[in-house]
Symmetry: C2
Subunit: 564 residues, 2 copies
Amino acid sequence: MSLRSDTLHKPCGQMKGQGLGTQIPDTQLMELILRLQKAIEDYVMQLETRRLWQDVVPEEGRHNEATKEQKASLIHSMYQVVNLLQSGATGGPELPLSRLSLDSSGDVGGRHQAQSSRQPDELSYQLNHLEAAFVSNVLSNHGNDITASYSSFVQTFVTYLKDNYDEDKNTSGFINLSITENKLCTGLITERLSQSDMNYIDDTLLQYSDYKGQANLREEVARFLTDYCKAPAPLDPENVVVVNACLPVFSALSMVLCDPGEAFLVPSPSYPGFSLTAHLYSKVELIYVHLNSEVTAENSRLFQLTVGKLENALHEAQLKGQKVKGLMLINPQNPLGDVYSRDSLKEYLEFAKRHTLHVIVDEIYLETVFDESITFHSVLSLESLPDPNRTHLIWGTGKLFGSAGFHLGALYTYNKEVASAVSIYGILHSIPGIIQHRLCRLLQDREWIDKVYLPTKHSRLQAAHRYVTSELKALKVPFFNCGAGLNVWMNLKEYLEPCTFEKELLLHQRFLDHKLVLSPGKFYMYNEPGWFRLTYSNKMPHLKVAMHRFSRALAEQKQALAEK
Amino acid sequence: MSLRSDTLHKPCGQMKGQGLGTQIPDTQLMELILRLQKAIEDYVMQLETRRLWQDVVPEEGRHNEATKEQKASLIHSMYQVVNLLQSGATGGPELPLSRLSLDSSGDVGGRHQAQSSRQPDELSYQLNHLEAAFVSNVLSNHGNDITASYSSFVQTFVTYLKDNYDEDKNTSGFINLSITENKLCTGLITERLSQSDMNYIDDTLLQYSDYKGQANLREEVARFLTDYCKAPAPLDPENVVVVNACLPVFSALSMVLCDPGEAFLVPSPSYPGFSLTAHLYSKVELIYVHLNSEVTAENSRLFQLTVGKLENALHEAQLKGQKVKGLMLINPQNPLGDVYSRDSLKEYLEFAKRHTLHVIVDEIYLETVFDESITFHSVLSLESLPDPNRTHLIWGTGKLFGSAGFHLGALYTYNKEVASAVSIYGILHSIPGIIQHRLCRLLQDREWIDKVYLPTKHSRLQAAHRYVTSELKALKVPFFNCGAGLNVWMNLKEYLEPCTFEKELLLHQRFLDHKLVLSPGKFYMYNEPGWFRLTYSNKMPHLKVAMHRFSRALAEQKQALAEK
């Protein structure tokens, strides 16, 4: 706020120096533009601050009143300028539009200079839409909530996407190790998808089909899960619903299982996609069950999910009057990479049955176990489920084939009512027919999956994990050592003084300054500052550059701490 | 209900006749099975009645208490039988499971006979899941609502899909003229999609991309709309959001523009997809503005939407305390095929501006105008929009390319906040990267679109429309004559005595008996019984069979009325 008086007159002086003042006869316009400029500066500053925070604390940014006021002030100034410009704009070329750069996209100080030679009615048209671009108060409360919470997250994601590291074309671009993509086998997938059987097309693939997914794809998903989840009996394709990704499965599931305000228990650190999804449509509350990063009386292993913790969380929620409807698990866990033992899994399911809770198990990280000493137990592998009627599996091919842009999300549930209700949502989350066909072919090709794809994938995951963790060891960075998933959960508390979320955010920013995107633990709803998630399933040349940047950022951070 | 006492003992007699009684020592089981059988019969009868009704009256079927009670009774009986079977099932092969046919899908009297040689634990597993399949009370209130309202609709759709007419393989299958698909040009599309430029694949197409759609696809959509909507200035790709279909655009738009319970005005008859979508996630209320099927003092044309009607509907809603947030238009209209004149369109927009309402215009039927005397005016073609900030276009390629299984839905809005908020929903409604690439290529290929595809499409639509309407004329069936869209809206009041929605339903059923699916007017929220929608954009050989069936069904109906 102390910046206000400093910046108030600077733009004015600059503009005057460039002769703007002499070109405009109307001092009213001048004044308005000054006010507008200030409103923009304040607003941008506020946004910047908020953006930085919301990258890591999305739920705390809702309905920021200060920003809203500044926005309203900005819009008001903008309106006035636009009106004045409109009234005087057709007068002649003196109007310094080139200074303001009002382009058709509504940018102020935008990408390209406005042409003073444009026709009056064209200018009026542009201004009309510029006005539209900046008028606010049109969104619902929910629309404002969503925007305040997530639009900067989406924007930031796109920013990194546009300035992506490339070893030939953009060596100074961002390396994004904050998105769980498996980029180690993309070549294998593109090769397989280029084979002739994949280019098949016929009329039925172009028409409306069963909203729960084409029958042959559902059959193939059921067969695949029967085999790879080691189900004791063949799974039923009628229990499968296939939609365009895993989050839509969760979105539909939470709508049909919970009424607004009802809650799921979720161990934390936890994948933030559930929180986002719960917020977008369904309004289910997520109650986080915080896992301990140290061995205590209660947990014999780090980050252990115990039934005691679940009981406590449930009890506390009930005391607060919250209606808990289910438990949400990810196995292998994201971000931890932890794999639940068969006994633990059963205990969680028994806990849920005792309290008549649904259990949703997200097994999207199936087939990412690269440590051969670890056995993964799918919830579908259990001989007898405590409450099959309330046990639901979410699975998808995004991590299996490392292809987030070509994938499916599937529900497997023994409850026909749930399958039926979720399948109605298929109307809004459908997959194109030709993609369903290709996915079906891919899942069918067991020869290729078992002999070519999975062995390569596992060995590459092993190698990448070995490389990244050896670098972390060399840097003396502690990490949670698991043999599954695509992420490393690491402890950077030593680099925070004091160890707070504010400092975690600053360290995150330091990585960004080094063009490295890592996710701070706060993003995973974790309650202890100092943890970061790093996705290691990236190409080795990229990983090497990334780890070099990581090491430099840490060294710089260490030095900054020492100098303090 | 009079059936109850008749059916109670019949199955018992049948089973006894087949020696079942002698195989079971336990009379308790016998009794339970009898009760179960009766509960199933009652339930199925109830369901059948409901299904027939819900095909046409989805909103009236919610929370049917009678069905709920029967369901609860059915479930209770089932539970008891299952428990008893479980307790005695491992005893030996005498248990007559083959009679009940309990298969892994949970079907009773299901597809294949259970094998008496199965292992005891396998049997227990199957029963465990049979139990799961029938236990209820797991859905949220909203889940129950959705199921009651739409699951029979979805089921029915799938039934027709499975028994689809084929001139070679299934001549007694259903011909479905109730889904607006353009099947006249599927060959052209499959041919174009089979060309080599369509099979391109690269790494980036398989990875996460911008949630609002890939930049090059959005640019292409903006260019396409600029040209085909005749926009006065180039449209901005940043105002485009691309998702997997048009309904998801509406779903997201209504979330970010309306809070639960707020409403949109919608002229009726109206596309039922909006009502379904509003119900699934967003909870926006749709207030229908009923168009008059006769010329009156108020409207000079049939089904004319006048500002007077809009004002009245708004006023009435406000009197009821409803908060109206917008007006939803479809242009060309579905099911009417009506095209709004430029002046009418402006009047609707001015009305909306006067009351600070959003206007959503769905122009998915762009490029379906086959009557050359009619000029279509896109909302994007207007030189100056009354309230650009609250004017939003929905458009998609589903009807353009007649490919509901390979398409996109797009939002074009001048309001950056709306674009930004809707784009967050892209996370749940994404299109696979390789599909985005293909759609981009297709929209780019103007040579093919303008010289091959559109001329063929328009001439085939003309021919099909000419054929169907000449048949209707021969049958003396009045219809609303428009030159756009893929549907004919026809008046069959003459075939209803009395003219009620009950009789409309029975006529619909008569068409089904003749393996012809048509949509009754009630489905389009129309308030006058006796109207039906027929989608004429089907292959000529199918249309000929369909019109033959139609004619036979009407003759039969006429005779039935005469005999009465």
